[in-house]
Symmetry: C2
C-alpha cells in the first residue's frame, strides 16, 4: 500500500491528470480503508505542494453565470501562462444530484485544455465533508503543479464562509441589478469579498451593470475590507462576449503580486491550516463520542431536554463527556 501511495503521488507530481483524479477520488471516499490510504497520500503529497499558488474562491447565486465566467476566466489565465485547477464546493448537489450531471457538460472548452483540471463536487456528503475534502484536493492540485486553484461555490451562506476560510482571495460574482436588490445577497457574503464582478454587462444590460457596479462600490464603503491594505474593487464583465475578463484577471494579478510574498498572506495560510487541524481534530472527537455505546442512546434525550429549556446545556455536555471519557477525564475546566 505504501508503494502504491508513493507511485500515485509521483504520477500526480508528474502532471498526470488521471492520477490526480484518482488521488482526489481516494480522499473523497468515505470508506474507512480508503481514508487510511488517503491520509498516507496526503502525508506524502503535502511537502511537494507548490507554495506560490493563488487560491481563489468564486461565489455567486444560481443564474449569475458562474460556469460561463469560470470558463472564460480560466481560458484567460491559461492564455496568460498559468495552469488552472477548478474545484467545486456545492453541498446542494449532494441532495439534488442535478449539478453533478451539469458539471460534466459545462466548461467543455476549458476542460479540453491540458493546462486545466476541473473537478466537480463529490456527491453524498455534508458541507463539512465537502469542505474538508476540498481543502485536501487543493493541496493535491498544488502538488500537481497548478498555479491558480479556483474553488467555486454556490450562494448558500455557509459554504462561502468555508471557502473563504481555505482561499487567499474571495471573489463574488453578481447580477447587473442594484439598489434594493442588493438585499438579496446573503448576510455577510459581501463582507468576505476581495473582488466583486458584475457579470452579464452586455447588450441591454450594459448600463444596468454600470449602475450596479456603482451601487456595490457604495455598499462596500460601509464594510471593513477582508484583507488589510486592499479595498475590494468592483469590475464589470461579460463572460459571454469576453469583454472585461482580461481586466478581471489583471485585478486578480494585482492582488496576487501584492500579497503572494507578503507576511499577511503566509500568516493567513498558517492560520487557516492550524484552524483546519483543530477543526478536524474536534470533528473526529465528536464523531468518536457519538459512536460510543455509552453515548449513542442518550444524545436524542439530552438534546430534547436542552432544547425544551429544562436541562442546562452545560449539564448535558458534562453528561456526554462522562459517558464517553469516564469520570476522571471529563472535567470541564
Amino acid at each position: 500500500m505504501g508503494t502504491d501511495s508513493e507511485a500515485l503521488v509521483e504520477a500526480v507530481r508528474s502532471g498526470d491528470r488521471r492520477a490526480l483524479a484518482q488521488a482526489i477520488t481516494l480522499i473523497e471516499s468515505t470508506r474507512e480503508s480508503d481514508r487510511e490510504a488517503a491520509v498516507r497520500l496526503l502525508a506524502l503529497a503535502a511537502p511537494h505542494a507548490k507554495h506560490d499558488t493563488l487560491r481563489i474562491g468564486i461565489s455567486g447565486v444560481p443564474g449569475v453565470g458562474k460556469s460561463t465566467f469560470i470558463e472564460a476566466f480560466g481560458n484567460t489565465v491559461i492564455d496568460r501562462g498559468r495552469r488552472v485547477a477548478v474545484l467545486t464546493v456545492d453541498p446542494s448537489s449532494a441532495l439534488s444530484g442535478g449539478s453533478i450531471l451539469g458539471d460534466k457538460t459545462r466548461m467543455e472548452n476549458l476542460s479540453r485544455r491540458p493546462e486545466a483540471y476541473i473537478r466537480p463536487s463529490p456527491a453524498g456528503t455534508t458541507l463539512g465533508g465537502v469542505t474538508g475534502r476540498t481543502r485536501e484536493a487543493i493541496v493535491l492540485c498544488e502538488a500537481a503543479g497548478f498555479d491558480v486553484i479556483i474553488v467555486e461555490t454556490v450562494g448558500v451562506g455557509q459554504s462561502e464562509t468555508a471557502v473563504a476560510g481555505m482561499t487567499d482571495m474571495f471573489a463574488l460574482l453578481v447580477l447587473p441589478s442594484g439598489g434594493d436588490e442588493l438585499q438579496g445577497i446573503k448576510r455577510g457574503i459581501m463582507e468576505l469579498a476581495d473582488l466583486i464582478v458584475v457579470n452579464k454587462a452586455d447588450g441591454e444590460l450594459k448600463s444596468a451593470a454600470d449602475r450596479a457596479a456603482a451601487d456595490y462600490s457604495n455598499a462596500l464603503r460601509y464594510l471593513r475590507s477582508r484583507t488589510p491594505q486592499w479595498q475590494a474593487p468592483v469590475k464589470t464583465c461579460s463572460a459571454l462576449t469576453g469583454v472585461g475578463i482580461e481586466m478581471v484577471w489583471d485585478t486578480v494579478l494585482e492582488y496576487w503580486r501584492k500579497f503572494s510574498a507578503s507576511s499577511a498572506q503566509s500568516s493567513r495560510r498558517s492560520d487557516q491550516a492550524r484552524a483546519w487541524m483543530w477543526a478536524e481534530t474536534s470533528d473526529g472527537l465528536v464523531a468518536a463520542l457519538k459512536r460510543h455505546p455509552n453515548v449513542r442512546g442518550r444524545v436524542a434525550q439530552l438534546e430534547a431536554a436542552v432544547t425544551a429549556g429544562t436541562l442546562s446545556p452545560t449539564v448535558a455536555a458534562q453528561e456526554l463527556l462522562k459517558a464517553f471519557l469516564g469520570d476522571s477525564e471529563s472535567k470541564i475546566t
Copy 2:
C-alpha cells in the same frame, strides 16, 4: 453539598440578590470542585428559569456611552414595571483589569434599585470562558425572576457574535458620526443588529446624530435583517439628558411583543441551546485531548509543521486523535 445547592437555588428563586451573586461566583469559578457544584446548581435552577424573558445584547465601541445608556435604559425598564439584570462580557477586562474597577463605580443609580441586578465580567478568563459562564448566568438571572436580561459587550468583534448567539435581540449603540466613519465598525457587527441606537444626540451633536441615523438606515438597506420579518430600526437618544430613551424602550417592547410568543424566537433559543451543548462538549473533548500525556508533548511540533505547510492538517489531526483515543477509536470518517 446537595442540600447546599438546593438551599442556594431556593434563595436565588426567592429574589435574594446576595444568593444570586454567590451562585454566579460559583459558576464563574475555575476550581474543579466548584465546577462540580456549579453543574449541580445549574441542573437544579434551569427548570425554574422564567421563560418569557427578553435577552438583549447591547454593544458599542468604547466612548459611545454604554454605561450611561444602560443606566438610563435600565431605569426606564424598571419604571415601566420590569425587573432588569445586566451582565457584561468583556474579554479585555480579563487582561487590563481596568474595567472591573470601573464596573463597581458605574451605574450607581441603577445598582441601588431593588429591581436591578448588575454583574461585571469575571476576571482572568478567555472569551470562550466568559461567554460560557455568561450563558449560565443568564439562566440563573431568569431563575431569580428577572424579566429583561441585558448582556453588555465591548466592540471587539468576536464577543459580539458570541453575545448575539445567546440573546433574543441585539442592539448596537453608535456615535453621532456617519458616512465614511461607518467603516470604523467591525465587519459583520452591523449585520447582527436588530436595533441601532445613535447615542449623544444632544447639544451640538443633535443634527450630526440625525445625519448619522440616516446614514445607518441607508447602510442597513444593504444588509439582510438578522431576524426575519424585522427590519432593524435606527433611533437617536441622549443617555445624558434622557431624551429618546423611552422611545428606545418602546421599540424594544415592540420587538419583544412581536417575537416573544413566536416560534421564531423559541426555535432560536432551542438552536442556541443545542449549539451551546455541542460547543461545550467539543471544548471539553479538545481540553481532555490537550491534557492527555500522549498528546501534550506533540501539539507544538505538529502545529509548527502544519503552519509551515509541510504537514497536512488532516494527517496532524489523525495523529492527535490516535495519540488520545488509540488506534481503534480514532478513525475520521
